[in-house]
């Protein structure tokens, strides 16, 4: 019962700010609403016994990406002013498309009989994740580090003022 209560609270903490993110007319408010949504997802990760993923989620999403988005909103015009029209003319069609996809996903995901397995995750999660990264998934690890470097250089080059 306690787990269900925690899950419902965390799901609401995730979904209600997410609704504010996509509907708020003030973009600063939308970007600030990203933070509780990301924290709610981190809480769901803790419930799923993924403590390391939850920590990284807080550090990168709630820490870095939200601040980056806020910076760009502040540096560009038209984000904070509520006088600017923020939604385009396909609000109804977009809403219908999103609702249709959500309904299809829910029907598909909830009707499928997943091959559930009993048992719980190993205790020392972080150490196991680390050694999995450096043994089984070393290729993904190395490629993602190269992608990180390339995107760092690319972002610098793109955002640099041209002479």
């Amino acid at each position: 019962m306690g787990e269900l209560g925690a899950f419902i609270i965390l799901a609401l903490v995730t979904l209600l700010p997410a609704a504010a993110v996509v509907t708020s007319r003030n973009l600063v408010r939308a970007a600030m609403s990203l933070v509780p949504s990301f924290l709610g997802v981190a809480g769901l990760f803790v419930l799923l016994q993924a403590e390391f993923v939850a920590g990284i989620q807080i550090l990168i999403y709630a820490g870095a990406i939200a601040v980056l988005i806020l910076f760009v909103i502040m540096l560009t015009a038209g984000g904070t002013g509520t006088a600017v029209r923020q939604a385009n003319e396909q609000r109804v069609v977009g809403g219908l498309a999103a609702a249709a996809l959500t309904a299809a996903l829910l029907a598909l995901l909830l009707r499928t009989a997943w091959p559930l397995a009993a048992g719980s995750l190993p205790r020392a999660n972080v150490a196991a994740v680390g050694s999995a990264f450096l043994t089984t998934f070393v290729l993904a690890f190395e490629i993602s580090s190269v992608v990180l470097l390339v995107s760092l250089v690319g972002a610098l080059v793109i955002a640099r003022r041209e002479r």
């Binding site: 787990e3 899950f7 995730t14 979904l15 997410a18 609704a19 993110v21 996509v22 970007a31 949504s37 997802v41 990760f45 799923l48 993924a50 390391f52 993923v53 990284i56 990168i60 999403y61 870095a64 990406i65 980056l68 988005i69 910076f71 760009v72 909103i73 540096l75 560009t76 015009a77 038209g78 984000g79 923020q86 939604a87 385009n88 609000r91 069609v93 498309a97 999103a98 609702a99 996809l101 959500t102 996903l105 829910l106 995901l109 909830l110 997943w114 091959p115 397995a117 995750l121 190993p122 994740v129 999995a132 089984t136 998934f137 993904a140 993602s144 990180l148 995107s151 690319g154 610098l156």
Partner: protein, 103 residues
């Protein structure tokens, strides 16, 4: 009633739909990036939930969630740099006004 994999899948589908709605209806490019971040978060919930309930002995779901978080950071950095470059050249961040490639 205990929490099962279906609960997490439902939350993830709803979050994905909200992100898609944001992408389809926002005019500001930064707001579209926010919608993409929500959809990536929904994916991560799915991966970690399946890791917990379908293959509890493995850690592949955690590993792939971490890789997706890394790539989301890359995508946010490059995307926001592109928004800054577009804003400097065209003085707008609204994607329906960025139409210099249209004849």
């Amino acid at each position: 009633m205990t929490v099962g994999v279906n609960h997490y899948l439902a939350v993830s589908a709803l979050l994905f739909g909200l992100g898609l709605y944001g992408i389809l209806t926002r005019r500001n490019a930064v707001a579209i990036l926010m919608g993409i971040e929500l959809m990536l978060n929904a994916t991560n919930i799915n991966l970690v939930a399946f890791n917990r309930y379908v293959a509890p002995g493995a850690l592949a779901g955690h590993v792939f969630a971490l890789v997706i978080i890394t790539l989301a950071a890359c995508e946010a950095a490059v995307g926001l740099a592109l928004v800054m470059a577009v804003y400097r050249n065209l003085e707008t961040v609204h994607v329906d006004e960025i139409n210099v490639l249209k004849w």
